[in-house]
């Protein structure tokens, strides 16, 4: 058993990257879980994009004669109560998850970024209003806020994608990103070279883009990744509750809803695979996000 008080420096996965040289050694060997996460993410994206080509069956095609079939050579993960191929539905469900997760996170983080920077840069009563508004949004738990939006906006399907759902998940993300962006922007703003730039007469926009942007990119990317996994979880929860994605669009959360657990007693694969899929994707984004944060800002400890 290691002596906890030994003075050698630790090379823990979560705290410091060891002093290796080279990209592979530094980022992959140094952060194996993060690298694994990244690999899974890339694989996930690839699968989602290529789903129409890789999926052995159309996820919407029913086959009542073959319902609730166990995993076999013709149906790798079995079939659901409509006889739809589970493997194909998981693939397409991944598509839905990535689509909604990435869009919601991207929309939320980008809007949050601009709002945050704007509130730090534009002084006066606009700043106060924005600050108040953000505080209000932050006081409401994420899932609850998303549900209120779902309730008030209803469904708005465009090419089979529910835009209102994406908005509903994006909204709670905005203030969280804005808060971080704002504090970063405030710090940078107070640095002297910005004032120098102002004195020299550079336009506001130029200042923002040239000087603030690079310093905010790091936190932005880290939060973007973190929120993708949160967004995917929220989508799964909402779909499970019947308030997110609806049939017949495949969604992992939706596959767990309704009578699924009744069928699961005799056909457990129906609920095991969607749950595992969600876990794997969330795990991948979390690990990658952690590694990203450590790489971009090694001073920050592994707290969140």
């Amino acid at each position: 058993m290691r002596n906890p008080f030994a003075t050698t420096v630790s090379d823990g996965l979560w705290t410091e990257a060891p002093r290796h040289s080279g990209f592979f050694r530094r980022y992959v060997l140094g952060q194996p879980l993060g690298a694994l996460g990244f690999a899974l993410i890339v694989a996930g994206f690839a699968v989602s994009l290529l789903a129409p080509f890789i999926a052995p069956y159309d996820p919407l095609v029913t086959d009542y004669g073959n319902a609730i079939a166990a995993p076999s050579l013709s149906h790798w993960l079995g079939t659901d109560s409509f006889g739809r191929d589970l493997f194909s539905r998981i693939l397409y469900g991944g598509r839905t998850a990535f689509l909604i997760g990435v869009s919601a996170s991207f929309v939320g983080c980008t809007i949050g970024l601009f709002v945050g920077i704007a509130s730090a840069y534009i002084r006066g009563w606009i700043e106060m209003i924005i600050e108040r508004f953000l505080e209000i949004l932050l006081a409401i738990p994420t899932t609850v806020l998303a549900l209120v939006l779902v309730s008030s906006l209803g469904r708005n399907l465009v090419y089979g994608i529910d835009l209102n759902l994406i908005l509903a998940i994006a909204l709670p993300i905005i203030p969280k990103m804005a808060r971080v962006a704002r504090s970063q922007a405030l710090t940078i703003r107070s640095q002297s070279y910005i004032d120098a730039a102002v004195t020299l007469g550079f336009s506001d926009l130029r200042i923002i883009f040239r000087h603030m942007a690079p310093n905010i990119t790091g936190p932005y990317l880290v939060l973007l990744t973190a929120f993708i996994s949160q967004a995917i979880l929220i989508e799964a929860s909402l779909s499970y509750l019947g308030l997110g994605v609806t049939e017949p669009t495949p969604s992992w959360g939706l596959m767990l809803a309704g009578n699924a657990f009744n069928t699961a007693m005799t056909a457990p694969w129906i609920v095991i695979f969607p749950g595992v899929a969600i876990a794997v994707v969330v795990f991948a984004f979390s690990m990658f996000g952690d590694a990203l944060r450590d790489a971009l800002d090694p001073k920050a400890r592994a707290d969140r």
Binding site: T62, G83, T246, N259
Partner: protein
């Protein structure tokens, strides 16, 4: 196998299961007294007024506290016997029904129940005052006058001699309230549960449990057998779990086939499972006021495209959607025989030929690349499954229907405003009574129940005539004519009927299995063999 054989097999299998599980009818063994019946109910009632309620979950909780004028005889569906009425006389000549009320019936608060209470209750149902909702108003349209002739006699005068009215008197929704309380506050039933039924209301913890206790002064001596009732608000897999763990005895609405299988596997002969056709069916309605569905050919094409027989077989394997049928309970006393149905549009046996004709019709109407939104209610899940089935069927003739799943409020709004193109609907009938069941399929201005936005006077006339027709053979002919025309015009299409599977702890006896979700919920003759 033909539909009839299927049904016979189902019923026989059901009966076998019941006897194998040791379940017996109330007449077979002597009922034991005592015990608390625990059952699941899917929802809380919005308020306590039977007259305005429309959800079976509300009735499951309210029925044990009230009596009705007539009732369905336990153990002998669909026979009707007197509940509060000791006897009655029908006089077609004078268009009256005269009921003799039992003496000695008491309300839970100790007051006597007399003809006045019955008369006042029916006044409320037929001519609701301001602030009172009589949900099934059209069922009372034939009643012209209600009179409490003396303390124990009530007389109803009708406008026309319509025999379906007798069933209305037996409807469990028509709970008899206290005239005295109604006089002081016409909306008292919304907040207060006080009737003359076998159980007295104890307590209701919203969202959780409704408790009631035996009424010692119940007018049927020796009943109820149970000491009390406890109903828990829960639904979905939780219900099957609870039955399996022995926490509740049953859910009177029923369980899914998968749930029943699970219970059979884990409990063996400790659970009794009864199955049979249910009086609930799913239909799809087109908005006949708007293109493209104002064109009869388009509607009929979509009707022909649906493979009802094959679909029911496939769907029936994993869901409760088991029977193909028209507007009457398949295999029931008013339904068309299979041979008759096969001749009607949409019910033929050669689906390929039907679909070919459908494509031809679409071409004629210039709607070959038809694409539209199908509004589907988001819940219960099986309705969504039904929407998936329909879209799948229409895809086979090149029609691109999109499932638009919405929550119940916008769905209900679309239905009543007529802002839909095609919409999925459910109809749970109280009993087998064509006059009631056809209200779903007549002209929009004649019946509030019909959502099809069409006017077809021929259908209306057929409905009106069959209501007054007393000769059964002639009546059947009218029903067939109605169906033929309806499927031809395809305003609103019945597609599939559900199967009801009720799983009960084998100790629970005396309940009568029946196709309706609404009958025998008063628990007066159920008992526990524990």
């Amino acid at each position: 196998m033909t539909l009839r054989k299927n049904l016979m097999m189902a019923l026989a299998a059901g009966a076998l299961l019941v006897s194998a599980a040791g379940g017996t009818r109330a007449e077979d063994a002597a009922p034991k007294v005592g015990g608390i019946l625990r059952y699941a109910v899917s929802d809380d009632p919005a308020n306590f007024d039977c007259h305005s309620a429309n959800h079976f979950a509300a009735l499951m909780r309210l029925a044990p506290h009230y009596s009705t004028l007539l009732r369905f005889k336990p153990g002998a569906y669909p026979e009707i016997e007197g509940d509060l009425a000791e006897s009655w006389q029908a006089d077609p000549a004078s268009l009256t029904y005269t009921f003799k009320i039992r003496p000695g019936v008491k309300f839970h608060d100790g007051t006597d129940l007399s003809a006045k209470d019955v008369a006042t209750t029916y006044e409320r149902l037929t001519f609701p005052p301001d602030g009172v909702v009589s949900e099934r108003l059209e069922a009372f349209r034939q009643i012209e006058k209600i009179e409490a002739v003396d303390d124990h006699t009530v007389r109803f005068k009708l406008k026309e001699w319509d025999t379906s009215v007798l069933g209305t008197f037996a409807s469990p929704w028509n709970c008899v309230y206290s005239a005295a309380l109604l006089a002081s506050d016409p909306t008292y039933p919304k907040e207060k549960v006080m009737g003359s039924g076998p159980f007295v209301f104890s307590d209701f913890a919203a969202g959780s449990v409704w408790t009631s206790t035996k009424f010692d002064g119940y007018f049927r001596k020796g009943q109820p057998y149970l000491d009390g009732l406890e109903s828990y608000t829960m639904e979905g897999p939780a219900v099957v779990n609870a039955i399996q763990a022995g926490q509740i005895h049953t859910d009177f609405r029923g369980v899914s086939p998968a749930g029943a299988d699970r219970l059979k596997q884990s409990l063996g002969d400790k659970v009794a499972i009864e199955s049979g056709p249910s009086l609930t069916h799913f239909l799809v309605t087109f908005n006949s006021e708007k293109p493209p569905f104002n064109d009869e050919r388009v509607r009929r094409a979509l009707n022909l495209a649906i493979d009802r027989w094959g679909g029911a077989k496939g769907l029936g394997k994993t869901t409760e959607m088991r029977y193909a049928g028209g507007i009457f309970l398949p295999g029931g006393q008013f339904a068309a025989t299979e041979e008759e149905l096969n001749k009607m549009p949409g019910f033929g046996t050669d689906i390929e030929a039907a679909r070919a004709e459908a494509r031809k019709l679409l071409k004629e109407a210039g709607q070959e690349n038809l694409s539209f939104d199908l509004t589907v209610r988001n819940g219960p899940p099986i309705v969504v499954d039904f929407g998936i089935f329909l879209v799948d069927q229409w895809r086979q003739i090149g029609v691109n229907a999109r499932n638009v799943v919405v929550e119940t409020p916008p769905w209900a709004a679309a239905l009543s405003e007529g802002s839909f193109t095609a919409i999925v609907d459910i109809y749970s009938a109280l009993r087998e009574e064509p006059t009631e069941q056809m209200t779903k399929y007549v002209s929009h201005d004649v019946s509030a129940r019909s959502a099809g936005r069409f006017t077809d006077r021929e259908l209306d006339k057929l409905w009106h005539d069959q209501a007054l027709e007393t000769d059964p053979a002639k009546r059947k002919a009218l029903l067939r004519a109605f169906e033929t025309r309806l499927y031809e015009k395809s305003y609103s299409l019945p597609v599939v009927w559900l199967e009801r599977t009720v799983a009960m702890n084998a100790a629970l006896k005396g309940w009568t299995f029946n196709p309706s979700n609404f009958l025998y919920l008063d628990q007066s003759s159920t008992w526990l063999d524990e």
